[in-house]
Subunit: 346 residues, 2 copies
Amino acid sequence: MDAARRKPPRNRRKMQSVTMSDVAGLANVSPSTVSLFLRKPEAVSATASQAISRAIDKLNYVPNLMAGGLAAASSRAVSILVPSVRNAFFAETVSSMQAALKKQRLQLILGHTEYDEHEEEELVRMALSWAPAAIVLTGLSHSAATRRLLANVTIPVIEIWELGGPQIDTAIGFHHDQVGVAVAEHLIQQGRRNLLFLGARMHQDRRAKQRCDGFLRAAKAAGVSAQVVEHPDTASAEIGSMLLVEALRLHPETDGIACSNDHIALGALFACERLKVAVPERLAVVGFGDLSFSAACNPPLTTIRPSGDLIGREAARLIEEHLGGEKLDGPRAIDTRFTLQHRRSS
Amino acid sequence: MDAARRKPPRNRRKMQSVTMSDVAGLANVSPSTVSLFLRKPEAVSATASQAISRAIDKLNYVPNLMAGGLAAASSRAVSILVPSVRNAFFAETVSSMQAALKKQRLQLILGHTEYDEHEEEELVRMALSWAPAAIVLTGLSHSAATRRLLANVTIPVIEIWELGGPQIDTAIGFHHDQVGVAVAEHLIQQGRRNLLFLGARMHQDRRAKQRCDGFLRAAKAAGVSAQVVEHPDTASAEIGSMLLVEALRLHPETDGIACSNDHIALGALFACERLKVAVPERLAVVGFGDLSFSAACNPPLTTIRPSGDLIGREAARLIEEHLGGEKLDGPRAIDTRFTLQHRRSS
DNA sequence: GTGAAAGCGCTAACAT
DNA sequence: ATGTTAGCGCTTTCAC
């Protein structure tokens, strides 16, 4: 019997204090019963369940998800990659998704791509290292290597915040060009004939670019003039103010403005106030995002309300449905739409 | 030799396509050499390194972090628990921390406590399940159970965004009551004698409460009157406007206002504009946060700039220093301070 | 309903 | 510098 004891025991490294075996021992059942209890409580007898519960409480047992994930070849983590959580839009989606996933005891592993496809690629690689239950990316444009990495994967891959391009798998979001169209049509309907788009960071933010393109297209279709004035940096009220001043200098006839987002729009409103440009009488202003200040400013801002939290909830729902299951049903597109909030600025 | 082959091989479940052994095989080295190469490349010969690199590229190998974490009894994950990433302050910290941790190939696992200690407790439990390299909490107040869970832990526990209370381990942040003091002293120095604090969600946001308390204390010390008008909901410009109207109704003599944060201050400025209350002539307004709009609004907002990104960077630095190492050196407090941005609203 | 046993893919002590 | 080996703590057959 002791023939197996050939060598002295090695110095083992520090390990987890309380394991499933400890719980099993205290509850007088086998480890596999404890495991079963943790995953499908209804499959375990009432007596055993009680004993196990008690043991877990007493020992203050915390299961080791890495061991579980390794054995099961899939973890209770969901990877989400967004440009930045500093951006209120993505913060909203991350937050609502997190809340929805909590019920399934799924944890979010967060990555910031900073609008960089290379960065995204690296993050996808790191994400896959965790054998996540699903992976969520922002937008539809990714590097070839990223696509290759994700092509062979057996978990749901969800792309959010963009629709209308080639998808890897399911996409949840809306058509940003349609946003541009809706804003242009709204302004034209309000009698505006000299339109202008105030853009920020459009060389990186594809979706802002799409809104701009839709705006220009709709204006052209209606036979109305439309200009673009833009800035390379991240949208902010400060840049919005600068852009407005510049826009009125270059195109003084402008009477209707669409903005990259509400930060830009807010800055534009501030500038109008300083320049004594009457909004909406002389100039109509429309934003994008319906941020927390948009209903409160002077005048209240007409804007597009995207469905950032709905996107998060839908993504979470999809992940739940496919938990442990395989890939999604194929490249489905879930359109969460957007609504125009008509307020006094237009 | 084949005596060990007693039973037929079982049906194994689907597993990882490419493993470290595959890489080792292709590179003609042992798996442990591959492991070593991945963790300490400088300890492996140039020849082997090359062969391994090539094999990894060729097979498109993605290491399994769960297996690694299990074997090493610690993972390359860092748990961070914040009230909500919708809050720009915490979004900033999360974002800067993420950027700093990337160099160490550490991933952030995010949790939202929603200002609820019970929620936090549950999240701490889930966080520990991942055997993270460190755990970061927001604030200094936690449930007794949370403290108990974290007392026996051998990884760095970092509390952020608050100083001045009992710490679990190292804390990084600043004294919020000192913010209140600084704002009160600033207003008094500007000749204001009827002060008022506009607060939001102070029953949950302890740090806002501390700022308010510091403000009142400093006013009292200077023999200046100070009132509080508050709202139970999350801070927003809309609530800021409401609060300002209410404040001037209840305390028309007010000439200096401190706000819970810049959202409230912005709403207050909007309301002043509508009411034709001259800022700063008739009323001085000071915010907290120096958010993206604060320098751009009318008039530009005097506010406190906290060091949200510095907090994130410092936390990341601390984690790096103690990677693999044990606990932190004890309850040290790192004061990241804050600065008053004096602008035209005061 | 419960238990025994065989790994999941990797790390780290140890030996060479 | 590299290989051998023994697990890390759990899940999942499979047999009872």
